[in-house]
Amino acid sequence: MSESPRKPAVFNVKPEQDADSDPRSSAKAKAKEASPRSPVAVSPKAVVEIAPEEDAQRLVSEAFSVDTMDPSNSAKPRSNGFSLLKIAGVAFAGLVSLAIGLAIDSLIRDLFARWEWLGWAALGLTGVFLLGVLFWIINEIRAISRISAITKLRDRARDAYEQNNLKETIAVSKSVVGLYANRADTARGRSELAKHDTEIIDGSDRIKLLERELLSPIDAQAQTLILSAAKRVSVVTAVSPRALIDVGYVLAENARLIRALAELYGGKPGYFGMIRLFRNVVGHLAVTGSIAIGENLMQQVVGHGLAARLSARLGEGVVNGLLTVRIGISAMDLCRPVPFLTLERPGMGRFLSELVSFSQSSDENDGGSKPENN
């Protein structure tokens, strides 16, 4: 291993535009790196490249080029193999589209036969329709790939943080900054982070900075969104005359919340992305929800049980609001490009107290049931 040790060496700082400056194959460099390097004495001819984070840049371009942005390796369909029903379904869908195609075709022919300009108009409309569908599909694919890119980024961030891997954390950090690059409200955070680029900071500390500078303002917005959704849900539950209306409203409000959170953290989720996200959120809730209850909900519930006893409607409102909060936190977990590593994941307690005080005050304001029935 020690046949290629590198000697300490000195180089000129002034870049000389020599033929020497072509980048060598990275594979070769890698191989060199593996063996212990030591003493070499060199003439000061080589080109010095003053680039504090050249590694980072390379990694970022990698990060953004193939892996993360390629839709083909995101959105993996669930493997459910062939089934007879499926074959039949596909065949039927084919038939239907043929039928539609035929209908359109004959429509256009008929229109041409009647008046030529009507035919052209119909043809134009068909073209617009097809284009619209095409772009919609592209948008959906991009949205889904964005969601899975964020999922991937989150896994990478966690690994990099746990292994304190400097290169990887720099890459993750650049990707996250890139994610928010055209969001004006992150300008300050991004510039703060950029100031630390040339500093020598350990990997896990970089994630800490990233969370604090860039993500915590977004987290605050997310919490506001969750809280206001929960408030709306609790009020509507408290005043709605029919249980069905509650259920419908809670569902709609939650879907809106998830969508808003997804947009807040990483762009529009799209229609199919939304369905996927909703499914994931509910799944995530099933896993983490019980833990959340364990940590601090119990004493809160016991403590605020009093509030619920004041009025049954108010209690229902708080419970539905809490459900929204839980879904919101779960959605936050799934939409955030970096997991909660150094910052604390917002707990139920913080929302609960605000929700209860809000419900109480609104309850009093609309002259509803007063605490006379305790």
Binding site: V13, S38, A46, V48
Partner: protein, 485 residues
Amino acid sequence: MTKITTLADDAGIAFETLLSSVSDLWSPSLRLGVTGLSRAGKTVFITALVHNLVHGGRLPLFGAYANQRLTGAKLEPQPDDGVPRFDYESHLHDLVEERIWPQSTRSISELRLTIDYESASAWSRRFGPGRLSIDLVDYPGEWLLDLPLLGKSYAEWSAEALDLAVQPARLSLSDAWRGQVEKIDATAEQDESVARDLASTFTDYLRACRADNTALSTLPPGRFLLPGDLEGSPALTFAPLKIENGQSAAKDSFHAMMERRFESYKSIVVKPFFRDHFARIDRQIVLVDALQALNAGPGAVADLKTALADILKCFRPGGASWLTSWFSSRTDKILFAATKADHLHHSDHDRLESLLRELVREAVEHAQFNDASVDVAALAAVRATREGTVQHDGSELPVILGVPMKGERIAETKFDGKTESAVFPGDLPKNTGSMIEGPTNGSSNLNFVRFRPPALEETDDGVSLSLPHIRLDRALEFLIGDRLA
């Protein structure tokens, strides 16, 4: 381990601690011990720390500062009137204006830095004083070498010194002195001129050990290297002798004279230093300059390890509980820092840290056993270099850019102290053990050069930015972050 304090010392220390605990109630203070052998960078560390806090440096990982809870930091008169003030202003002038490293410290000095902050918790914001005084003590690193002597008798020390002198790295350096010791009869009548002669040869030998190309560290007694105003006094005129096992000194013999002087050295020089400055330290940062030793090869690194192990045994690590902290002062947080981390590329920092971890392993274990929290970091209080890469022989070499000090050299290149150069100092070996136990001779694959302090960047308005650093904020967070919570 021999006990280095007596019962009376302990009582005195406990009394002082109690006093300061009481005064801490309304003006909390924290004694931050900055420990390190000579040239480890204590003075620079203190200067950079103060400068960054006072002038608002870039400290993103120092939580209280980054959250903007620190409202100000200023220098205040120190509590000990008998100790000179740390000359922060002139050290800073050296660093920033002259771009030279401060002169090596010749005597002890102290500085108090008071931080105003708002606590993150509502309770302490209301009832806490919202200020913390940090007492920093700077002293010559040579003095540290004396601490292990407190636990040793003259005979033990002599035997150790003679053993050490025949180690391969020292064999040639100690020739003259060993020759002289051989000739001296310890039982002979005491003789001042012989004593002076012997002491001066011994001092020469210690000085030679410290030179750049040998860079040895285990060189007690430290005042021989840096006598100050005690120069020529009997307490500094002694040397180890060859003593037969278990032989006690006859009255008026040469041996008795040396032994007496050794004891008075301990009581006049070492003990006051230990009692006044080391026994009461709340937080501790141990600065280790491993690079100089690495330059000189594994022998020097092993010697550094011995020196550190001896010195670190003198510390009193231990967790603080609210009850015991009134009486016994224990260091509850210790940070071991490999300084001058800017003199090598950051990709090697992990290896530097693991080397340091190995060098201070015993001390870390001891501290952890005593419930103190310990961390290890590669650090540069003042970052003198930037980083880059260079294409060389078909591969990329990570290099550091800076202005090397005048007279430093790599291979055939000699630096003039003015031009900026890109330097590749060699790779630290992956295997930590080989840095300590490798072959003693043979050309080293490492050549760390010293760089001049950085030219401070200025903004357009002419405001100079703070001193750049590496991980100083992390060190601060570890050392004092919890007191500003």
